[in-house]
């Protein structure tokens, strides 16, 4: 049941009507009142005219996942009235535009329907079709403000920040807020039992989506070449990189740029450009999603074998094939881990939220250059495009980037002869040179069979020597990638193990299970290959619930393949309908599996 500072608001609108800024205003207002919020978008793969929803979870406890409740439905789209009404949690409320009264909305006796004639009110107060549509959005924010007891001063301040000098816009938007607010106050008992009460739980927090954070990470990592092909849900990563660069990467005197963003003809070209730029020594990256990864795989294999750094952001969406481009999933784990033909395996990093997208982005360049290999950052639509409240991320101005083993002109001067693929240090990582630096540094980069000197070979043992060294490098990578997040509740033998955006729902589930006296331990993997910590964790537990967002238990499979985890103790809890994970699913699934085990 909804309660003070524990309420889920869902707004149903039509896409292309400008509701996003109204929803943002509402979410920010609650956040500014010091109350933690989660904002999730459920939008169609479409530009205009189809149903879209925005869900705001008000959560005093600061949980990061979505809830499976809908306490206050704001139904602004007649097309979806029936579905929206059905979704309201018993005891909840439904607001709709009663300019055109709908008796069928009164069918449910366990919810309260509040009709507000938004269209009529806006038509009476505003001129122009577009203005009336936009103001209707602002008016529902006003109504919600009354119903939930939001601070109008905070809303005013936000509008002033948004519109700056355009005072007339602040005034007209405030008028729309008032229209909704006053109507609700005069006609309904405001506030509702579930309201928002100012608190101090958002201090040092920000609200950001993961793509923006990852782009900021690329700026801080010093990336200069970004090549990409537009694809949902990764597009906003490059859009953000572009806007950060416009601010921080233009020489104030000459007006010239210190970055190159290349919109490629396809993903094959995008990754080719990344490899070309990395070969030259620039920090280079490409953001993409599943279909893009499929196209990139040939080049990813080349980068693995020829040992060229590359950073690839895969903001996963629902597959297979085109799938559901605007829904989330974690179903590219295996295809990324082993992308390309032949014996290949790749480093994967799994941020769990936007704050980690920022740090992981920086880390991905360090690891790619240190290990001279592609590094894939596996985010997903939920992280990349939704609004997460996360602690302000920190940056150490003393940060020293790891450029890996690159020989300088001075180093080469001292050397007799340079060979590209020698393992001089015994860690499987050879030294490289950058083209143009020194006459002695030249070597031939090739995806064809080569020996440790860098020469072409069709000799079996010479070939094998190189691919065996790549395995040694893989073991070095295992020690360098980020360690998992592990939480012990109390000494017991069962645990939850998850990855990426599963984190929020699983942690909330741990709390809920603990309240039922079920204490589970927790491990969230942050990288592939799995290190000693993950191996140890898996070994010491008798039952591990592996929570992941795909149909085929890809994370579980990877645990079995990489660290030979015993499949008998891995119990898969799979959530793959395209919606972000919620704690309820985890709790129910764990209880069901426990009951099954007891009965057996």
């Amino acid at each position: 049941m909804a309660a003070v500072n524990d309420v889920v608001i869902k707004i149903a609108t039509v896409n292309g009507t400008g509701s996003a800024s109204a929803n943002g205003l509402l979410r920010k207002a609650i956040f500014r009142m010091g109350v933690p919020v989660v904002g999730k978008n459920f939008f169609p793969s479409n530009i205009q005219g189809l149903p879209t929803w925005y869900e705001i979870r008000v959560t005093a406890d600061g949980y990061q996942a979505r809830s499976n409740r809908t306490d206050l439905m704001v139904a602004m789209n007649a097309q979806t009235y029936a579905k929206d009404m059905a979704e309201v949690t018993s005891g909840g409320w439904l607001v709709y535009d009663s300019t055109w009264p709908r008796s069928q909305l009164l069918d449910r006796e366990d919810i309260t329907v509040l009709g507000i004639p938004f269209s009529k009110l806006c038509n009476e107060n505003f001129d122009g079709v577009r203005t009336r549509i936009l103001m209707k959005n602002i008016a529902y924010v006003g109504a919600i403000a009354a119903l939930l007891d939001l601070d109008l001063e905070v809303i005013t301040q936000l509008l002033e920040e948004t519109f700056g000098d355009k005072k007339h816009l602040v005034a007209s938007n405030m008028e729309a807020i008032r229209i909704g607010y006053d109507y609700a106050t005069e006609n309904f008992p405001c506030p509702l039992e579930a309201s928002v009460m100012a608190m101090d739980n958002t201090k040092d927090q920000v609200i950001m989506d993961g793509n923006t954070a990852a782009a900021l990470g690329c700026v801080y990592a010093g990336a200069t070449v970004g090549a990409w092909y537009p694809i949902t849900p990764s597009t906003s990563l490059m859009d953000s990189f572009r806007s950060f660069c416009a601010k921080y990467r233009v020489d104030s005197e000459t007006d010239k740029r210190t970055y190159a963003i290349i919109q490629a003809e396809d993903e094959l070209a995008a990754i080719g450009m990344v490899l070309g730029a990395s070969w030259m020594g620039a920090r280079s990256f490409t953001p993409t999603s599943g279909p893009g990864i499929s196209l990139m795989t040939e080049f990813i294999g080349l980068a693995y074998y020829a040992e060229i750094p590359a950073v690839i952001f895969n903001v996963q969406r629902t597959g297979p094939s085109t799938g559901m481009p605007t829904r989330t999933q974690q179903a590219d784990i295996l295809s990324c881990a082993y992308a390309s033909h032949g014996d290949t395996k790749h480093i994967l990093l799994f941020p769990a939220n936007p704050a980690e997208c920022f740090t992981t982005a920086v880390q991905s360049f360090d690891l790619a250059e240190r290990l001279q290999t592609p590094v894939m950052v596996l985010s997903d639509l939920d992280i990349g495009m939704n609004d997460w409240m996360v602690p302000e991320f920190e940056w150490d101005d003393e940060y020293v980037p790891d450029r890996g083993k690159v020989l300088s002109a001075d180093d080469l001067d001292q050397m007799d002869k340079f060979y590209r693929y020698l393992d001089s240090d015994g860690d499987g990582i050879p030294y490289r040179t950058l083209p143009g630096e020194h006459p002695k540094g030249s070597f031939f980069t090739r995806g064809s069979g080569h020996n440790k000197l860098g020469g072409y070979t069709e000799d079996g043992s010479e070939y094998q020597e190189v691919v065996d060294r790549l395995l040694l490098k893989w073991e070095t990578a295992r020690t360098l990638v980020p360690k998992p997040e592990i939480i012990y509740s109390k000494d017991n033998k069962a645990a939850i193990l998850t990855v990426g955006s599963g984190n929020g729902g699983c942690k909330e589930a741990l709390d809920r299970l603990a309240s039922k006296n079920i204490g589970l331990n927790y491990c969230r993997v942050k990288a592939f290959p799995f290190g000693e910590e993950v191996k140890g964790f898996v070994e010491k537990h008798e039952v591990i619930y592996v929570v992941e967002q795909n149909r085929d238990a890809q994370l579980k499979t990877l645990l079995m393949l990489d660290i030979e985890a015993n499949p008998d103790k891995l119990v898969s809890l799979l959530h793959y309908n395209g919606m972000p994970l919620n704690a309820g699913f985890v709790v129910d699934s764990v209880l069901k599996e426990m009951a099954k085990a007891c009965a057996a």
């Binding site: 956040f31 010093g222 200069t224 070449v225 190159a260 080719g272 070309g276 730029a277 070969w279 302000e392």
Partner: protein, 351 residues
Amino acid sequence: MSYIAKPKVSHPKLPKNKLGLTERDYEGSVSTLCAGCGHDSITSAIIQAVFELDIEPHRLAKISGIGCSSKTPTYFMSESHGFNSVHGRMPSVTTGANAANRDLMYVGVSGDGDSLSIGAGQFVHAIRRNLNMCYLIENNGVYGLTKGQFSASADIGSKPKKGLANQQEPIDAVSTALSLGATYIGRSFSGDKEQLVPLIKGAMLHKGFALLDIISPCVTFNDHEGSTKSYAHTRQFYHHVVDMDYIPPAKEIKADYEKGSAMPIKLHDGSKIVLRKVDKEYDPSSRAKAFKYLRERSNAGEIITGLLYVNEGRPEMHDLMGNVDTPLSKLSLDSLRPPDGELERILRGYR
């Protein structure tokens, strides 16, 4: 991709260039292509061109895709950085490399299969960006490594060794490049080094996308009677339309040119090329006229060669993007980050 290293034999009397290097110093390993392959002649033309241009080997990057042509970067300039990438993707690797380091000279070697079939997309888009590179298509009309299938440049009616004649329209690299706005477009023949070497020099020094479509007969699979890419056919039907001379910086144009036929063009490094129009009607500065001429002659079965179009004025990729002169790969990472303490200010906007 030879694994036979060429022995370095010192010949004290070999001529040296300004860097003190001989032509031998610009060679690579021994070619493993078939004896008589046109590609080997192109390799030697490249070697002569870079030797005469006094290019420091390590300041040139040679990139290729897959196929017989794409093997050749190992046969020249063993002291240069090379990148043998994947099939049809040489242009994207070169684009990224050039984006990161605009100071090097880029030579891409491709073939008709690599550029006009599997890599057609990358070929045309590199042109659109006016990527500053020298792009060579070693064009033999067939897939050699897979034993003689037609490529997209095969002419209608051209006969294979076995099977039926080609009936599909060919893709002509030169007219494609013309229509897309490449800024230096030439065609030549592997058997015509005198024409080819200056064309390569100009292509290397041209600032922008320079394409050379070089007919390069495949002696094993496409040099028979009935093939339109054979040595015999090419020799019979090819015509010089515009020849060119390369004049290094600070050298005067000395040769006597027939009035009305010579067209000097200054390149960005101060050197010049002088176009010699064999056909006075031809206008290598007009895309429309060049295209018309090309179509008419090609319909008549002629292979016209020379520097067919040139435009030194169009900005190349970096200038179109407004990039700094320093190669991006040379900028220190410290200089690329927002100022100290800035993150806090950025984050304030997300509260």
